[in-house]
Symmetry: C2
Subunit: 204 residues, 2 copies
DNA sequence: TTATAAACAGGATGATCACCCTGTTTTGGA
DNA sequence: TCCAAAACAGGGTGATCATCCTGTTTATAA
């Protein structure tokens, strides 16, 4: 039986996840440089020794956040809904609308976690840049693949899948940038309309 | 006549501009937080006292950089070429092409200075956010105004100028984000094609 | 010429930060 | 049961950074 002098319960995986959660949150609202490891330690209730044990450097922590949190957000927000959509174009419209809905409910815009970190870290470190570029590519590929599937079903024949994918990611990223800076989610909706309700729009 | 014990020549405005130049450069490649005032002092050959005399805080320096450098880049890159263009759509295409040309010549992508700082500073400080949002708005207004002028000449009747302007800024900002992260300016060209060469494109 | 303020120099300072080190506790397998 | 490794605690450390302060030099206006 556990004696009363058992003071600690080791939960390495739980502690790791707690650190990643809080760090991802701080990175999203303050960015990499404005987030201190002290902030992370206090917020996640982790000692300096434990933090260093799981993540030897701040860079290692950031890479884990990007690979295990940021990438996951992109997959859950974009790729999964897209695969379940009836078409590429419809899926993209649904994602734009879903994100705009969420932003309006929460009342403020923190921006796209991938873009936030990409801007701050892409030029700072080659390792950061490589991982971030990989997520962007995965994102574009998911959209292009869906569009190619549509085309194999005989639809959207005159569309270049790569160009469509890049433009959708660009439109979304840029719209989120503006929405974050203006703190106005209606800019996202405005850009979303450009994705074409009928056949006479920019992106149609 | 100037005696030989005249050791210094005061040039407050020149020194101010030199500081702004170097700071804008550092902000563009490293960002706000990764740029130390020591970096600025060494690079621009300015003493701590002089720097503090012209810009009492780092925030004041950053605000000056945004208002006197970043805003100017947007005006020179976007608004002036746009006003001289034959149409809004054509002007936008020209700017995309001009930027892509420059990026290819220089061989690397540092990104859009406005977006770079907007991502890092928008949520950090209300004053930063306000100034940055103002530049985005000015940018959008310039595009929308040009489109409205086209419409008064009977062209592009079925286009919403605000929507067009927001989408163009978003497409450009997002394309630059991707190009910067991938260090591949061809992504900008790919997105530029979405602006419509004939009449069957996303943005046409 | 002289007084006053602006312009500039350069070191001091306190706070912060990422990282490290030493030691203790817990865990799981031999 | 025991032992080695993993997990964790917490204080220390050198470096860096933004800001400040005191003093000196230059410009300007009376």
């Amino acid at each position: 039986m556990p004696s009363e002098r058992q003071k600690r319960t080791n939960d390495p995986e739980g502690m790791r996840q707690r650190v990643l959660d809080k760090t991802a949150e701080f990175f999203q609202t303050r960015g990499f440089h404005a987030t201190s490891l002290g902030d992370v330690m206090t917020a996640s209730g982790v000692s300096g020794g434990a933090l260093h044990h799981h993540f030897p450097t701040k860079k290692a922590l950031a890479l884990a956040v990007i690979e295990e949190r940021v990438a996951k957000v992109v997959r859950r927000t974009w790729m999964e809904p897209l695969q379940n959509a009836v078409s590429a174009r419809d899926g993209v419209r649904l994602v734009f609308a879903a994100v705009a809905d969420r932003l309006e409910r929460q009342g403020f815009v923190r921006g796209c976690p991938l873009n936030n970190l990409a801007h701050e870290l892409s030029l700072a470190d080659p390792d950061f840049r490589a991982v971030l570029a990989g997520i962007f590519e995965e994102w574009r590929n998911a959209i292009a693949d869906k569009m190619r599937a549509d085309q194999q079903a005989g639809r959207e024949i005159d569309v270049d899948p790569e160009r469509f994918a890049a433009s959708v990611v660009a439109l979304y990223s840029g719209a989120m940038s503006m929405a974050k800076t203006a703190q106005d989610s209606s800019l996202l909706r405005l850009c979303a309309r450009e994705l074409g309700e009928s056949g006479r729009d920019m992106l149609n």
